[in-house]
Amino acid sequence: MSIIADLYRVEAIWPDARELPANGDLSGAVKVSLIPKDGIRLPRHDLIGLPFVRRFKRYFKRVPVLGFNKAAYFKEMESKITEARKDARNARNARKTSTPVPFNDKFVEPKLDECVNVICLKNARLYICNSNGSVLVTPPDYELYL
């Protein structure tokens, strides 16, 4: 399975046919392409004739903190209950001596990791979202954090 940072491949063309440098420099390029590696799910982006400066990826890594996922915790606890305990619980419920209380706490879907490819131009920045291929154009000094 591809990790989200690897969903796009970057290609660039220079008039002198040089190779894409590893340091992210795009100055002088005449065409920069972001090509989805699977070729199907994401749109391709071709940027032509723009004043390119550099490129990089910005990765957003999510960490759940300051509490825990109650739904997942009780699901795990439920999986550890022995058969004897379940039998006892069923017998108790059959006698109707107490009413089972369903776990009904809210469950917040955790935010997923995200990655954007950033193409810096002299007069703008293009943020291309790896999860859905959408593009955000911002001023050149704007820092996008999702």
């Binding site: 590893a22 992210g24 990826k57 990765y59 957003f60 890594k61 960490v63 759940p64 509490g67 825990f68």
Partner: protein
């Protein structure tokens, strides 16, 4: 191939921690050297008056697999909304690479964690400054972020649903 960066909960020193990338950083009434497990043990009791503090948690990025060229610009932030309700606050600060100790007294010099948002994130590489290169593979990168939760007498009892902390970084 993109780098693999993990978020670790630090235990005994600035270069030893537990991977929390797919887990939860659980605040407790004991130090991380005793337990980093996300269970219901050692919760923070609600005091009759004033506030009770958790032991601090220390987080740091770990380079599990190297980037092609480098990693830089590490930033930490939240969605800006404290979802824990009345009486629960969280402080955070960057402590550089000086590990210090696990303590339960009030953090000095910290600021509200939820004040660090996508518009004004907490700098995560001010002391251990990048860029971090492939030679840093298998090591901790950037600064240690210290967190502490305070539970006031007005808090509502029960386990709280986790909030999300985001660690952002640039990679070439």
């Amino acid at each position: 191939m993109a780098a693999t960066i993990q978020i670790h909960e630090m235990t005994t020193n600035a270069d030893t921690g537990v991977n929390k990338t797919s887990g939860t950083v659980r605040f407790k009434n004991v130090a991380s050297t005793t337990s980093t497990t996300a269970d219901a043990n050692d919760p923070i009791p609600i005091p009759a008056a004033g506030s009770n503090l958790s032991f601090v948690k220390k987080l740091r990025p770990y380079m599990e697999a190297p980037p092609d060229t480098n990693i830089s610009n590490i930033r930490w932030y939240t969605d800006g909304t404290n979802g824990f309700g009345t009486g629960i606050t969280v402080n955070a600060k960057n402590i550089g690479i000086t590990f210090g100790t696990h303590y339960q007294t009030a953090m000095s010099g910290g600021a509200d964690l939820f004040g660090y948002t996508s518009a004004s994130p907490l700098n995560g590489d001010g002391t251990d400054a990048g860029p971090f290169v492939p030679a840093d593979d298998g090591t901790y990168i950037g600064d240690i972020i210290e967190l502490q939760i305070a539970v006031a007498s007005t808090a509502i009892s029960g386990a709280k649903t986790a909030e999300t902390l985001t660690c952002a970084y640039d990679e070439i």
